[in-house]
């Protein structure tokens, strides 16, 4: 029943899509990390109206399905004269969707750091950025990494949705292959294994990093 020839025949296209998925995910993950950190910083700033704004944005973003967000960016922005390529919409959509999750994780990890450490740093005259880089962030990393790993894996899986707005990534390439070969099961099983390997590898690598980051705490 399983015909491997059709898979071999579609392999070049699938590889191409796989590589595109890799860089799309990399760019959107970095963007989400930056935006999420900014959101967390703004939330800790203690400025009233800013915090209300962020709380509203977070709740809206957390209750919006990614597919609907992508459609909004793809179909509604052009009506306001902003026409973006589907690649840009895809990356922006993923980053927008994941940044509130990232910010929540960062805020959670920050809460675990005793307030006294910030006060001690201030009393000793250590500049804020230096305090963060040398003291606070190293302590946050072991708490952050497991959650961030989960989010990154979620992002990789969700990137498959970009195929719906015809971004040429792994899932899109597999749809093209299915349309050419009429062998959905064979193609999708192989593509599934590809995603499984990718997420498994990411999980394994970040677990190593996590073990390294917490080596001083055990």
């Amino acid at each position: 029943m399983i015909d491997l020839d059709v898979v071999v025949e579609s392999l070049p296209g699938l590889m191409d899509g796989f590589l595109n998925t890799l860089w799309l995910c990399l760019v959107s993950a970095i963007l989400a990390l930056v935006c999420g950190s900014l959101l967390a910083l703004a939330d800790r700033s203690g400025i009233g109206w800013l915090r209300v704004l962020i709380a509203g944005y977070t709740l809206t973003a957390l209750s919006m399905p990614l597919l609907v967000l992508l459609y909004l960016l793809f179909f509604v922005l052009p009506e306001f004269g902003v026409t973006l390529s589907s690649n840009v919409v895809g990356v922006a959509g993923l980053a927008l969707y994941y940044s509130p999750y990232v910010s929540q994780v960062i805020l959670g990890a920050l809460q675990a750091i005793p307030e006294g450490q910030f006060e001690a740093g201030k009393a000793l005259g250590v500049p804020q950025t230096r305090l963060m880089i040398r003291l606070i962030i190293p302590q946050m990393l072991p708490l952050l990494l497991p959650s961030l790993t989960g989010l990154l894996i979620g992002l990789i899986k969700d990137s498959a949705l970009l195929s719906i707005i015809s971004v040429n990534e792994f899932m899109y390439a597999s749809k093209v292959a299915v349309a050419n070969t009429y062998a959905p099961l064979e193609i999708y099983i192989v593509v599934g294994l590809g995603y499984w390997l990718l997420t498994g590898l990411v999980d394994e690598l970040l677990r190593k990093l996590e073990a390294r980051s917490s080596r001083h705490f055990n």
Partner: protein, 216 residues
């Protein structure tokens, strides 16, 4: 836009049905997978482990396509709703199993010993002592998983289940009013998801509150 309201409300209803059915499947499936993980036999544990890993390691969209294209092989042709319920429910079941497993140890072994000492059967001990406390401790995570499931339901539009997103697309295709329709669709999900997210946060706080026993 107003004349299209009934179609969108119908879609909202289908989204709700889809979410509820998939959630029930995910709870039943999650419990079964949890049991497989607690088994003393490796031949039962390992398939469960692989199932969890596969479900958590591949995109839901792909799982939906695989199920959608596999159903005709067992004689179930043209049933997109069934495919969507199965795909969303079976995917979520893997996460539910992991949540329950993480909270399996909240039950003090002393309680299980006490139940044994007063002659409660193992099954009763499980149902009356372990399970209720496990579920209470898992509530915030289960609610989080429920909102994620709700936010995954638009995928069903890809196989033409007439849920909220699909209804929106139908109207857009006919009237070219993308903005109004999409904003209504987004608002629909907000109305469904936001209260649940807020409830989850409240429960999370009650579980974490200092001195609290994790039971509110």
């Amino acid at each position: 836009m107003l004349s299209n309201l009934p179609v969108l409300l119908d879609g909202l209803l289908v989204t709700l049905q889809l979410t509820v059915m998939a959630t029930l499947l995910s709870w039943a499936g999650g419990l079964l997978i949890l049991l497989s993980q607690l088994s003393a036999f490796r031949t039962i544990r390992i398939p469960g482990r692989i199932y969890i890993s596969l479900m958590r390691g591949t995109p839901s969209l792909l799982q939906l396509f695989l199920i959608f294209f596999s159903l005709p092989l067992v004689g179930l042709e043209g049933m997109p709703m069934l495919a969507a319920v199965l795909a969303l429910g079976l995917n979520s079941a893997a996460y539910v199993a992991e949540i329950l497993r993480a909270n399996y140890r909240v039950v003090d072994p002393g309680q299980v010993e006490a139940a044994m000492a007063i002659g409660l059967s193992p099954l009763r001990t499980w149902l009356r002592i372990r399970l209720p406390q496990m579920i209470t401790a898992s509530r915030p995570a289960l609610i989080n998983e429920f909102t994620i499931l709700l936010k995954t339901t638009p995928l069903a539009s890809v196989v033409a289940v007439p849920e909220l997103t699909y209804s929106g697309q139908l109207i857009t295709a006919r009237t070219f009013e993308a903005t109004e329709v999409l904003l209504f669709v987004a608002a629909g999900y907000f109305v469904l998801a936001a209260p649940i997210i807020l409830l989850g946060r409240k429960l999370q706080k009650s579980v974490q509150s200092p001195g609290g026993k994790g039971v509110s």
